[in-house]
């Protein structure tokens, strides 16, 4: 099995999907000859030509609007938004149109498409190259939201997302792009959407994370193991619809939960997870669920490592949660 990083794994999934299905096209800013600013689409232009790997004018609204049109016709566009921070000019097309087409047309028109975009901080991108806007899309009925943490999952989930009949936001944690390498099978690999993964089993507390923060959660879990704390770590993989069964059964077992995400706290996905856990596992909760998140400020440049919910902030949260007594 070849070793791949996340960039290569996404590239591989795209290449295979494009070979298997002529309807799959890639479009976006700089996705063509140069293969994207993160080189995720590298080589696709040479293999599939400018008719299927399309450099568009500089307009996210246009990228998504035309992709919707292609999807309505019956193609499977995989538009790229260069950074998740730049998805907002396309927000209307995503939330008012792509998300609602099936519903509002009584099923006559559908929008199967995968919007790929890099998310998250920790790469010195500052204010406008670091954000994690997932909760905005989770709040919008009609969208699925995926965020893999590693190359294997990235390949398998992107393949499933491309085959999915509904619009999917596919967030790629850019801090992981080249930081993690692992064996990824050649050829077809599909992992079902909607399934979280128990990455580490434990008894004392459940940690819910995804994307780049998964590794921070794991590092904290290892760190507190020395103190005899046993953490169960979940990698959500699909954020929406979320795998409530895996979450609930873990929290029912441990009775304590720490939720980690990069986005600001207020109305972040952590709020929804905390709410669901409270609603569904109330009698099992031995401590208030805890959120370790980005702060409710814009994303800073110089102090980004203090802003992010990294190991140094997760570890004390684990200790306190486990130590909590009413």
């Amino acid at each position: 099995m070849p070793e791949m990083n996340l960039v290569q794994a996404v590239n591989d999934a795209l290449r295979i999907a494009m070979r298997e299905d002529d309807d799959v096209v890639v479009l976006g800013e700089d996705v063509g000859k140069v293969g994207g600013v993160f080189r995720v689409t590298q080589g696709l232009f040479d293999e599939f030509g400018e008719d299927r790997v399309i450099d568009t004018p500089l307009s996210e609204g246009g990228i998504i609007g035309t992709a919707i049109g292609m999807a309505l016709y019956g193609m499977k566009p995989v538009p790229e938004i260069q950074f998740a921070d730049f998805i907002f000019p396309a927000f209307d097309q995503i939330v008012s149109e792509a998300a609602k087409y099936r519903y509002r047309s009584g099923g006559e028109y559908t929008c199967p498409m995968v919007i790929r975009t890099p998310v998250g901080g920790g790469i010195r991108g500052g204010h406008y190259h670091s954000q994690s806007p997932e909760s905005l899309f989770i709040h919008t009925a009609g969208l699925k939201v995926v965020c893999p943490s590693n190359p294997y999952d990235a390949k398998g989930l992107l393949t499933a997302a491309i085959k999915d009949p509904d619009p999917v936001l596919f967030f790629e944690p850019k801090r992981v792009y080249r930081a993690v390498k692992m064996d990824v099978p050649e050829g077809d690999l599909e992992l079902p959407l909607g399934k979280a993964k128990v990455v580490r089993e434990g008894e004392d507390v459940t940690v819910i994370a995804w994307g780049a923060m998964l590794f921070e959660a794991l590092a904290s879990a290892e760190e507190v193991e020395a103190d005899g704390l046993s953490c169960e770590v979940l990698d959500l993989r699909t954020l929406w619809p979320v795998d409530i069964d895996t979450i609930a059964s873990s929290v029912k077992k441990t009775g304590r939960v720490v939720i980690v995400h990069e986005a600001p706290k207020a109305c972040g996905f952590g709020a929804e997870l905390l709410s669901m856990v409270t609603e569904k596992c109330f009698v099992h909760l031995e401590a208030p669920p805890v959120r370790v998140t980005g702060f409710d400020t814009p994303f800073p440049y110089t102090l980004e490592m203090e802003y992010l919910p990294l190991q140094h902030r997760i570890t004390p949260a684990l200790r306190e949660t486990v130590a909590y007594e009413p």
Partner: protein
């Protein structure tokens, strides 16, 4: 003028469209050189569709005033540009609507009953009562899904046209919008992408002079809306949108160009919104009646009738038969629509996704097992 201006030519080029409006039917009913010279039955067909559209409009407005439907947005005065352009699309072509084009949808074959069911949002409404009245959809008729947010259909139509082209089909896509919508981001982006991609798409701008209460002069400082094509390398043309033959002719040319691979075109159809913006609007609050009267004199229906009369192809008897027939048909559809049930409760949760995920199952169960709302309306 300073002499410097000669060496620093800061200027807006003269509009090339200002005086150039394609017209076919003259006041006396005779036709000019752009006459598409259609068989007379086809011209009669246009006329019937226009009168039918108007008759339905008038009745629906009445229905809304009686509180029997919630809303209607009509096409009074704009029938020629809507029907003429729709008729110019070939059977294999696609139409992306704005929201005033129910006449085009009926012309394309949607049963009147289905349209009326949409006005009632009942169980047989193709959109299952999920949208306001006049937010129809008609894939079987190669007709898109109406959305409220202004302009969004434009980039979509471009992508759709482009996909059809990639698939090697001979399908052209047209897209309707008002002159107000030219201010939206989607007009800009749609035109720009269409120009770059050479997509087979025809932009149909109904310049009806008003965007709710905002007159077209406040919408842009460009001399005409057709001039906007220049910014995108997209050819454009202005047509008398109250002249169904001229509209047909011009749009047909654009469709044929696009089908030949010559790319997109923008058609500015000059017309006038004779009624309010919708049943929620009273235009007397912002425009003078004089203006309306003036435009009534160019009424597209009267104009076409005059032409048909010169051909000896129409008379009062046929007119009465048509109007009465449409009214009776509509009345029956309304009675049927009113007798139909609301969409089933569970439909709220269907079609958000292809399949219901767990959380929607859970919410559906909560609703279905809970108490019913008193109807507050």
């Amino acid at each position: 003028m300073q002499t410097q201006e000669q060496v620093v030519p800061i200027r807006t080029p003269e509009s090339s469209f200002d005086d150039e409006v394609v017209t076919v039917i003259a006041k006396d009913g005779s036709t000019g050189p752009a006459d598409p010279k259609l068989p007379v039955e086809q011209v009669v067909d246009f006329y019937e569709a226009m009168v039918r559209t108007r008759t339905i409009d008038v009745q629906l407005e009445r229905l809304q005033r009686q509180g029997r439907i919630g809303f209607h947005i009509g096409s009074l005065g704009e029938e020629a540009c809507i029907l003429g352009s729709a008729a110019a699309m070939r059977p294999q072509d696609w139409i992306f609507p704005c929201y005033r084009e129910f006449g085009a949808l009926l012309y394309r074959g949607m049963p009147l009953q289905t349209y009326v069911d949409n006005m009632y949002g009942n169980a047989d409404d193709p959109v299952k009562g999920r949208q306001m009245p006049d937010h129809y959809t008609g894939r079987a008729f190669r007709f898109g899904s109406v959305s409220s947010p202004i302009g969004t259909q434009m980039t979509q139509a471009v992508g759709f046209a482009w996909a059809a082209q990639k698939k090697g089909t001979d399908e052209v896509t047209s897209v309707y919008f008002g002159e107000g919508a030219t201010s939206s981001a989607e007009f800009h982006t749609g035109m720009n992408f269409a120009g770059v991609m050479k997509a087979p798409v025809v932009f149909l701008c109904r310049n009806n002079r008003w965007a709710i209460s905002v007159p077209s002069e406040k919408q842009t400082a460009s001399k005409t809306f057709a001039d906007k094509g220049v910014a995108y390398g997209v050819p454009a043309v202005r047509v008398d949108g109250n002249d169904v033959l001229a509209t047909y002719k011009v749009v047909r040319e654009c469709v044929e160009r696009a089908a030949r691979g010559e790319g997109p075109a923008l058609v500015e159809m000059l017309t006038y919104r004779v009624g309010g913006h919708s049943t929620s609007d009273d235009p007397r609050a912002y425009r003078v009646q004089d203006e309306v009267e003036q435009w009534r004199r160019t009424d597209p229906v009267v104009r076409l009738r005059r032409h048909l009369e010169t051909l000896g192809a129409w008379d009062d008897a046929r007119e009465e038969e048509l109007t009465k027939g449409t009214e009776a048909e509509l009345k029956a559809c309304i009675a049927a629509a009113e007798a139909k049930p609301k969409p089933a409760l569970g439909t709220i949760f269907d079609g958000v996704f292809a399949e219901r995920p767990w959380h929607l199952e859970e919410q559906a169960a909560e609703l279905l097992n809970g108490p019913r709302a008193k109807d507050h309306h």
